[in-house]
């Protein structure tokens, strides 16, 4: 159980994030969440979760961007004290390394882990809500 994350290569330049978000807005695509990583050497990566990953890819590629599609784990984390720590404790106790994480809409958190299916199973076993692609397109 996973959702699609799109990673876009970006030069570290004025207006780049605006250009991409405006492009998606014009295509009627809703951005559900995003994270930006910066290399410090003139480029960065924008990770974006949208309600329509196929059209997002098409729109970006049409404009000449390089886009990488990746499956990631998405979990609803209770908006309360210790909510995130509780989720991470499950990963930690099963020796699952989190490469990246960021929050998106509706108290959802995206995780990069090596084995998504195993991680999803564990979380569900602990009573947590794991989100699939269909859900992310419809919320």
């Amino acid at each position: 159980m996973s959702i699609v994350e799109l990673a876009v290569f970006m030069e570290d330049k004025v207006g780049r994030l605006y250009e991409i978000t405006k492009l998606l807005a014009d295509k009627g695509i809703n951005i559900r969440g995003f994270a930006v990583s910066d290399s410090g050497t003139g480029f960065g990566i924008l990770r974006v979760i949208t309600n329509d990953s196929k059209n997002t890819i098409n729109a970006l590629k049409e404009r000449g961007f390089v886009v990488h599609e990746k499956k990631v784990l998405c979990v609803r984390v209770p908006d309360e004290v210790g909510g995130i720590a509780k989720t991470l404790s499950i990963f930690q106790s099963h020796d699952i390394n989190v490469h990246e994480m960021y929050a998106i809409v509706n108290s959802l958190i995206v995780f990069h882990v090596d084995n998504i299916e195993d991680a999803a199973y564990l979380l569900k076993h602990e009573g947590m809500e794991v989100i699939n692609q269909k859900a992310i397109e419809q919320i």
Binding site: A7, F9, M10, E11, S37, D38, S39, T41, G42, F43, G44, I45, R47, R63, G64, F65, V66, H68, K70, H99
Partner: protein, 433 residues
């Protein structure tokens, strides 16, 4: 000072006679000793018997840089490698260096022509030379060094870089002649000013600057900043290194030491000689070099030539104009030859996919900078910053290893590099030269 007046001021008739005698001997020598030349002459249907006067030189075939590379490392030598006295090598276009060699007599020749150059620039007894050309496989440092020894002038073998020490010793030792690239001369002046030193108050009086193209404006700036006479020196390793041609203080062209290096100017498209004074490709035949003589070697440099006697210094040696460009895509960055194809081959080795790239050359704080912009395409894109940074560093290391030159590698978006007529514009040279 004219170091060898009998050669530098000889009548054109006498010069022609000397060139002719030397050419005839040279052609026999390479025919006998270098299988490459015998084959090349045969292909052109010419043999030593056809060369009876200096004008017959046009019957001979051209040689090009690729010939040196194809016969790497010692295939064009006239003698076994253990009989030469010194070997130099510059970075090559395919990773293979261009190898040049000198016998003991060649080193003597190099010393003499470099000695003439330094003298022509105005050196006198009492001068001290600060040599800031790179020592090592690059011919600049040792060439100037030998010339200084030949003249009997003190020389500081500084090599390039270490600017603080350059400035300190210049001041403490009262050096009067600086030899380096023009961009380094500017850089040193700016460094001096940053440290609160007025370069105009330095003991320097002459700069012998070369190994890269530079303009009249740059000369004006260097002369103004340092309060010196800045003169152009020309040379290339294949012919001898520095000391092929030199400006006198008249600054009206560079005097070619034509008794040793026979110059021709040709139309680069047809190979035919152009009229005196017209622009074309500079071609040299090394009339006296022993270890690695070259016949009608195409330098790729665009210039013109005049045989008029120099009004300023009285030398009769022909003069070439300051270089006007290149026939190929070679760039000279900090005195180092850079071909875009070298960078192409590095990129091709990375994941087998050759991304688009662009070279941006600039002059920052008077030093040439080379930025290699590489387009990130599907093949090389990773969604991990770390992997992209590794790629960036990998490309940088590989290019630096091939070019022996520090470069900056930037990863850029695919659409960001300008293309015209579907073909990428490979080089943007922002230097004002």
């Amino acid at each position: 000072m004219i170091w060898q007046e009998e050669f530098e001021c000889m009548s054109l008739d006498k010069l022609r006679d000397l060139q002719q005698k030397r050419l005839i001997e040279l052609v026999k020598r390479v025919w006998d000793k270098v299988p490459f030349y015998k084959k090349l002459f045969n292909e052109k249907g010419v043999s030593p018997a056809d060369i009876k006067s200096i004008d017959d030189i046009v019957k001979l075939p051209f040689t090009v840089k690729t010939d040196l590379r194809d016969n790497y490392p010692f295939g064009l030598f006239t003698c076994p490698v253990n009989e030469v006295n010194e070997i130099h090598a510059s970075s090559g276009t395919t990773g293979k260096p261009t190898v040049v060699a000198y016998t003991k007599n060649d080193i003597k020749l190099w010393s003499v022509v470099m000695g003439r150059s330094i003298a022509m620039a105005g050196a006198q007894r009492g001068d001290i030379i600060q040599n800031a050309y790179g020592y090592g496989l690059f011919t600049g440092g040792l060439g100037v060094h030998y010339g200084a020894l030949e003249l009997g002038l003190p020389v500081l073998p500084m090599s390039s870089g270490n600017t603080q020490k350059q400035l300190q010793l210049m001041h403490d030792f009262n050096t009067t002649i600086i030899t380096c690239t023009p961009s380094y001369a500017l850089f040193m002046a700016e460094e001096a000013m940053d440290r609160g030193i007025d370069p105009r108050k330095s003991p320097l009086r002459i700069g012998i600057l070369g190994a890269e193209p530079w303009s009249q404006q740059m000369r004006d700036k260097i002369e103004e900043l340092w309060n010196i006479t800045a003169l152009d020196i020309y040379g290339l390793s294949e012919i001898i290194g520095p000391g092929v041609a030199q400006e006198c203080p008249g600054k009206d062209g560079l005097h070619v030491f034509a008794d040793h290096f026979y110059p021709e100017i040709i139309d680069p498209r047809t190979g035919d000689p152009v009229e005196e004074g017209e622009d074309g490709e500079l071609v040299f035949t090394t009339l006296t070099k022993e270890a690695l003589p070259l016949i009608r070697y195409r330098t790729g440099d665009i210039t013109s030539i005049t045989y008029d006697k120099c009004n300023a210094c009285g030398r009769t040696l022909p003069r070439i104009s300051k270089l006007k460009g290149r026939t190929d895509d070679m760039l000279i960055v900090r005195g180092i030859n850079v071909f875009p194809s070298q960078i192409e081959s590095v990129l091709l080795d990375i994941k087998g996919a050759q991304p688009h790239y662009q070279l941006v050359i600039d002059r920052k704080h008077s030093l040439d900078t080379l930025e290699v912009q590489v387009e990130v395409n599907e093949d090389i894109f990773s969604d991990e910053i770390k992997k992209l940074e590794d790629l960036q560093q990998h490309i940088q290391r590989e290019i630096e290893a091939v070019l022996s030159l520090k470069v900056d590698v930037s990863l850029v978006e695919p659409r960001s590099l300008s293309r015209s007529m579907g073909k990428a514009k490979r080089v943007i040279d922002n230097r004002n030269i």
